[in-house]
Symmetry: none
Subunit: 209 residues, 2 copies
DNA sequence: AACAAAATAACCCAAATGGGTCATTGTGAG
DNA sequence: CTCACAATGACCCATTTGGGTTATTTTGTT
């Protein structure tokens, strides 16, 4: 059985090449291809996958996501767009998109994305994936000074932030506990602290580690 | 110029097949392949991409991420693992992994992931990507683990993250140092830690303060 | 070759911490 | 009115930590 596809893309030229591309494989069947969310919502049968542009007249693709999901919850939605800004990506993901790929992505990759989403996964182009992962990381701190820590000191500070005691750190690094203590003393001087707890606080807040 | 690769994988059989796979392409060069984070940190030259297993003896792959990043910030890290649980994925991403692919992924896809990450993107297998996207969707009662801290305990934990000693906290709150110590003990039990440093790390990373 | 920095290691001592146990008081939910 | 729990306070003991000093070896840079 073929995977059924719906396309919402206002640029007719690109829309036609998508239809041509996808239809050239017997595994996929483009059931409908329209230029706006309104048309798509209008008496169109459910499909497995919807390729949805973001920049659309009237209702944007992102606004359209909840509408499609509401009408036929089983439909998977892949955003197909030229925009890779954080705002768009985040909005689409929150709205429930199952994929987010850029239009400049190769035809082969687009087909691959359809297949992946159909199989229950999510499809993200590498650059989009990178931005999505970046959303999980806390905003970049100032990270002004403190670069005076030596590599070994940074390493030990990292282990401290993982909750290790001095002894465990020594065993982990295969060095004497005395040596670890000396490094810790140096770290304290450089960070102007007098305890592990404070060092961890500074390290995590100032993003040294 | 070849893309240089480092591999950290304790299962020697799988490690060898990875080396064999990657080395069979002239575009990639496996510079080193070891069985633990410690070996990798030990006199190993920087590479473009590190393939890093999660389940490792001693230091886990996730604990290793910040160490690698600290030593050579330019190195990209791809987690290569059998685990696709939310916990592992989230930890790895927060720690700064650039890719997260499952071991059962086809050899071609592994090579593809290396190429994508080398080009500045992020590599996620579809099923992992799906779980990552799911993390953005609203869900309830995840923080139950830490909401058990009483108001006073949260207050004291906050002061600990400011670097205060037990005595200073007692003076600040106008209560006995013994009382503060008792609260700290309760905090340790609830957070499953055994030191201020670890408590601070958990508090800041989990944003419970 | 000379020098500085980093990493290694050891010693001492006082203070802080972690881990138990026990007890009193107040407060809110049944 | 109980009952659980939060908050308060105390004692003991072993371990860890913080702070000071000194010293050797390695490494990188003039």
């Amino acid at each position: 059985m073929e995977i059924t596809i719906g396309i919402v893309e206002d640029h007719s030229e690109f829309r036609n090449s998508l239809v041509f591309l996808i239809s050239s494989f017997t595994a996929y069947q483009v059931v409908w291809a329209v230029g706006s969310v309104r048309e798509a919502m209008d008496n169109k049968e459910p499909v497995d996958i919807i390729l949805l542009d973001i920049n659309l007249p009237n209702l944007s693709g992102i606004q359209g996501i909840p509408l499609f999901k509401a009408k036929f919850p089983g439909q998977k939605i892949i955003m197909l767009t030229i925009q890779d800004d954080e705002e768009s990506i985040l909005s689409a993901i929150k709205a429930g998109a199952d994929g987010y790929i850029l239009k400049k992505t190769s035809p082969q990759k687009i087909l691959e994305a359809i297949q992946q989403v159909y199989e229950g996964g999510a499809a993200l182009t590498p650059m989009v994936a990178k931005q999505v992962l970046a959303l999980f990381k806390p905003k970049k701190a100032v990270k002004v000074t403190h670069t005076s820590l030596t590599p070994r000191e940074k390493e030990i500070l990292t282990l401290i932030t993982q909750g290790m005691s001095t002894l465990v750190i020594a065993e982990t690094l295969f060095i004497s506990i005395q040596t670890v203590r000396n490094h810790i003393k140096s770290i304290y001087e450089k960070l102007h602290v007098h305890s592990k707890a404070h060092a961890v606080a500074i390290a995590l807040k100032e993003k040294i580690v």
